[in-house]
Assembly symmetry: C2
Homo-oligomer: 408 residues x 2
């Protein structure tokens, strides 16, 4: 029975330039942490990610939701987590402050993630293992599918997961082989040309053949110049992703993409405002064959549904620390599977939680094993930092979701 709730506001300093992009020039990576304990001595740790100031608001929202867990048995809760999620995410007062977005939904993410962590630790299993052993019905029970009725019903979820059982064993080999990573940190916005060149070399040496560059400069020539550096150092066969972090207007995005396509980017990430679904639709048509990646700032399954229906997202970057946690992440993954679009999470958790979730997505949902973002800046703060060797995430074997922080 859950009998202890602790909410912690943890903020970490980054080294100069790290984490910078065209919009967020000086971030302080921070977590609103939900720590649950039960009467048997088990604990669960869940995270929501922010950039520093305002983290306290997310903590307050997390406290609101976490208090509703006191007295609950974790197995009983998780046997029908979708119902609980639907109920609390529609709390009449907090719903007004969203609905299902912003501070309140970030707070719920932290709490949901703590529930999944506690569940896996109670069973003494890594989260990926717990999830991949669930039956289709048990998976469906985790999910709140409301407002998706026009595209994904409970029956469809069950039959979709059922269909994927056939080649599940074969896909289990990813456990031995590990899940490919990509290096996000070669080209933060504030890094100079020399740093980028050095970082690209190191990324290649470390076994990555995919990496990301931040774009969205006031002077488009700076973006083009830096993109050429990355392509030159990484070589023609590397995948290079460009990330504008919402900085461009639609006309700006169209103009600069006509130049950036020369260096053959693998995707263009967050070209403009994340709320502008029809803007992305226009943009996707205009910049084709360039592909768009979105999701870092998309807060819930309903907006993801719209993006998928609009046919403009070629990569879904749902983040379990932005949507309402692991369960809504799975819902969005199922929507993506149905629509035939790969899921490549944004990792507000630095990949700690998502290394479990992409294994589940691949093994149980049959989603493509593409690659998972890797950001090393907070690794010293985690009890079990993700082990990335030769550009590959090694499968985590500790019980839980690998989100425990050292200083808690």
């Amino acid at each position: 029975m859950i009998n202890g709730i602790q909410i912690l506001d943890k903020r970490y300093k980054l080294s100069s330039g790290a984490g910078s992009d065209s919009i967020h020039t000086n971030p302080q990576y921070s977590y609103a942490v939900t720590q649950l304990t039960d009467d048997k001595g088990n604990s669960g740790c869940g995270l929501a990610f922010t950039l520093g100031p305002g983290n306290e608001l997310v903590c307050e929202a997390a406290r609101f939701f976490a208090q509703k867990l006191v007295g609950k048995d974790i197995e009983s809760l998780m046997s029908n987590f979708g119902n609980w999620f639907k109920q609390v995410s529609n709390d009449q007062y907090y719903r007004w402050l969203g609905p299902h977005k912003g501070v309140v939904h970030l707070g719920l993410a932290s709490v949901t993630n703590a529930c999944f962590d506690l569940w896996a630790k109670t069973r003494k299993l890594p989260l990926w293992k717990l999830l991949t052993e669930l039956s289709p019905e048990q998976i469906a029970n985790l999910l709140d599918l409301s407002y998706l009725e026009d595209i994904l019903t409970r029956d469809e979820v069950i039959s979709l997961v059922q269909q994927q059982q056939v080649h599940k064993e074969e896909r289990m080999k990813v456990i031995r082989e590990g899940y490919p990573g990509y290096d996000t940190s070669v080209g933060w916005f504030n890094y100079n040309d020399e740093q980028i060149r050095e970082n690209c070399k190191k990324a290649i040496e470390n076994g990555f053949n995919a990496m990301k560059l931040k774009v969205g400069s006031v002077d488009p020539l700076r973006d083009i110049h830096r993109a050429e550096i990355v392509r030159e150092v990484a070589g023609e066969n590397a995948r290079v992703m460009l990330d504008a972090n919402q900085q461009w207007t639609i006309p700006q995005a169209i103009a600069i993409c006509s130049h950036l396509k020369n260096m053959n980017p693998y995707w263009i990430e967050e070209p403009t405002h994340p709320d502008d679904i029809l803007g992305h639709q226009l943009l996707a048509r205009e910049v084709a064959p360039l592909k768009l990646a979105v999701g870092e700032h998309i807060p819930n399954r309903i907006i993801f549904k719209n993006y998928l229906q609009a046919g403009c997202a070629s990569f879904i970057q749902v983040d379990a620390l932005r949507v309402g946690g692991v369960s809504e992440f799975i819902t969005v993954s199922l929507l993506s599977k149905k629509m035939g679009i790969p899921v490549v999470p944004h990792v507000g958790d630095m990949g700690q939680l998502h290394q479990h979730l992409v294994l589940f997505n691949h093994i149980s949902l049959g989603l493509e094993k593409l690659f998972l973002e890797y950001i090393p800046h907070l690794r010293d703060h985690f009890v079990h930092p993700a082990r990335v060797r030769n550009g590959v995430y090694e499968t985590p074997m500790e019980a839980g979701s690998s989100c425990d922080l050292r200083d808690i």
Copy 2:
């Protein structure tokens, strides 16, 4: 020069059943209040609206933005308010918590509205008068038009307002005649049949020929039955609006609307989740000729742009206490004008502020003078409660935006 900032968390009890809808069954109407004072003894009061719990989060967010006003001269600020708004709404830390939605954007609404109130009081003018006397350029300077470049540029704003100058004098007659109201309070969700019948009679006696009923019952027959009562009492010529407050799924909405159309509703309000733009598009096609009204929970100009582009909203119910305040309200009104769709605000302010804004919309932007929602439940708490006689809002003549609360 602004030298005083006070943020207040005000919550008001409602009488039994008042304010209830299918989602919000027991609301406590509340304001996150921003109170500004300057060194000349002027004050400005701005509001954001919530339903009680969580109001403290909005207050915290308002404090964050309000502190950025200390030392600013109000005339200088308002001569280019759009720039200030763009800058603070894109604060790198708070932007992560939205962007431009949820708790942080509600906080900004409260602060923006306080700026407009202070501005009007400093000039000793009712807000509607101040706004209607602005030049097209001065109006454009109030606005942050970023992320609208594909549909509304600064030049288009200026020329659109310029074009409307021709018949402005003629439309000024609304000042003498007043602005029509509609009665929202005849059919709150928890009212029984007899209360609804009584309230409809009273509404007609009080001169209203437009009123609203809350729908979204678990049993659709209850909705149909209650809608028939309202139509019967109000008569064939009254406009009756039905409000589902997001309760329906798309399939449910399609099914029930096929029955509700028999009583000829003037609009169907918030049929489903406010994030589901393409869902509304599908729905609008399926339920035509019924018309959809949306906006109460739409947080910013970018999502309104999408709704207008999707062609599924027949009435835009933008609320200056939900979007980032008066300036973003004006931006959304301009978008609506350009797309030929009427603006009928949701009134989290009980109409206090919006009575000024609909006058501006009609006189300066040439938007249709349709009607403004009227909710009397908080009137005793305002220093200058809106005067609605014979179903018509009388033009407010006090300086400011009529948002001062008695107990501050």
